[in-house]
Symmetry: C2
Subunit: 334 residues, 2 copies
């Protein structure tokens, strides 16, 4: 039940519902009575709406992603936009790329559009340990409007973070592979972001906990692109690996394609696990086992907390972290 439902059931526009709950004189008594009756019937008080619909706000949320052509980002924007629109908010989208200077200029642009709050999707915005000064512009921005980070963690009074237990998820996936008899596990990553580092730590944790020694050669830095990975995989043949944990599905699929092409059996010769549980996973044969990081849950939780913050709630948690799930398919056998 949201402002659209109220408008629809009352047979009036959203703007009219807004006017009614804000006590505008521009609405006829008859219309006013009808809208208030619907609101009453469903147990809403006009004041609860009024706060969210106050004429002082632009009802606009800025969303920044590095790239909307990335499937995880596209899905995140889909869920964010849907949830926000249901609550009567419009979104301004900005795709910043991955360069620090561009990120800052895009964030300034979003702020200049009189946005009520900003949502930054992707751990790229949380910087990396060695360059934490790169995130100062986000902290400065949060002095003007609340900032919500998805998949990144930063500490500041007006910054709210939602993330997933990436380290734990990779730990469990890697441990599962080792318990099922795999000994030489290749780890693939395309990033040095906070989230990427957590994933690598999870991989190390699992090796250590199972008595295996991490080998730096088994940690491969490679772009998250099916074709690039497929074409580069032959370079890693000498590593004699029997399993792959990839930090994104596209990478895992590039590796899978190379394995199948070079006559290896998956999962018998090589087990493969991806990350994000994207729609790519079910395109391959065998289908890709992947870690589901619940983008829908993360985005909807972010929007819930964002609205609470905008309504003046001072008790909203600054940090919410969700568990991931391993979705087992044909590229693993445990």
């Amino acid at each position: 039940m949201n402002i659209y439902d109220i408008a629809k059931m009352s047979g009036v526009s959203i703007a009219t519902v807004s006017r009614v709950v804000n006590g505008s004189p521009k609405v006829s008594e008859k219309t006013k009575a009808r809208v208030l009756a619907i609101i009453d019937e469903y147990g809403y008080t006009p004041n609860a709406f009024a706060q969210g619909l106050g004429l002082n706000t632009m009802h606009t949320i800025g969303i920044m992603v590095p790239s909307i052509s990335d499937m995880y980002m596209a899905n995140a924007v889909f869920y964010l936009e849907q949830s926000l629109h249901e609550r009567g908010y419009e979104c301004i989208l900005s795709c910043s790329g991955y360069q620090a200077s561009q990120k800052e200029s895009h964030l300034q642009m979003l702020l200049s559009k009189k946005t009520d709050a900003l949502i930054l999707v992707g751990s790229t915005y949380a910087g990396s340990d060695d360059k934490s000064h790169n995130t100062d512009y986000i902290k400065r921005t949060s002095e003007e409007v609340p900032v919500f980070l998805i998949n990144g963690l930063m500490k500041s009074d007006n910054i709210y973070c939602t993330a997933t237990h990436d380290r734990q998820a990779i730990f469990e996936a890697t441990k599962g592979l080792i318990e099922s008899g795999r000994k030489r596990i290749l780890f693939m990553t395309d990033s040095k972001s906070y989230s990427a580092k957590q994933k690598k730590k999870g991989y190390h944790d699992a090796l250590s906990s199972m008595g295996l020694t991490p080998d730096i050669n088994m940690e491969v830095f490679i772009p998250n692109d099916v074709e690039i990975v497929r074409n580069k995989m032959s370079e890693f043949d000498v590593l004699n690996f029997d399993a792959i944990v990839a930090s994104d599905d596209a990478m895992a699929i590039g590796a899978l394609k190379y394995m199948l092409h070079s006559g290896k059996k998956v999962p018998d010769d090589v087990s493969i696990i991806g990350y994000n549980n994207s729609s790519l996973c079910i395109c391959t044969t065998p289908e890709l086992t992947s870690i589901d990081n619940h983008v829908e849950t993360v985005c909807k939780n972010t929007v819930d907390r964002l609205l609470e913050v905008l309504q003046g709630d001072k008790t909203v948690s600054h940090r919410q972290i969700f568990d991931c799930d391993l979705v087992k398919r044909g590229t693993t056998d445990f």
Copy 2:
């Protein structure tokens, strides 16, 4: 070379460049001289900029898509946002869904954000022949700001359309299949939009031109979802088809997965062609032959014409239609 480059080379903000070319008195003579020197050096006249940077505009373009979780839409928004941002424009994104009433309310929202122009991505906005009154709200909107349609055609003074020769592309793909010996070709679609109808016409054209009689049973209406198609394909076994032309890649991949699962050889027993040439195509084994409708070209051309329209050019073409290309991969043998 754009406003960002001018700003960067002058060592000032974009806002300052804008002030200089608009003759604002709030800029020091020294800064003004520096910016104008850079502009001069690269052969720009301040007036050419001034028009695009006039303080009367919000420099904001509204983009409406039915769903950003669709890969074609996500890629289109990626290219649109990138091109617009390079020219100093910000984007407001709205995801309208496919319901007529929702589309209209989303379009009103975008308009209320003082957008300079609107871009509607997807043939769903062009309505279908039997319900053309559904597009009246778009024509009304175009009386206020120029409207750009991607993948849909509508005739109106202030509506500009960019599309691809979908009918011709499906005609050629289907003809290729028939020439290579295929006789019973299944056609799959998920839509009754303008673009979907053009595709179906192309399929009919090819059958007729090759002396085959269209069979209504061979035209399947099914959601564009890998898993749904895979699970429903057994219903069509009785049709005894030897090729599939699908109006989207996900459908084609669902069909491919069913074929492989049921022991059919692809392309020997059944050839398959998808549409959009999305990143899904190279995930499958064999990889999917698909029609590339050049989303990048279409989007960049739209932005070019949009800027010309905003700069007052009265000679901008209302309709620009691009050719598609068949990208042959492992699911076909011609």
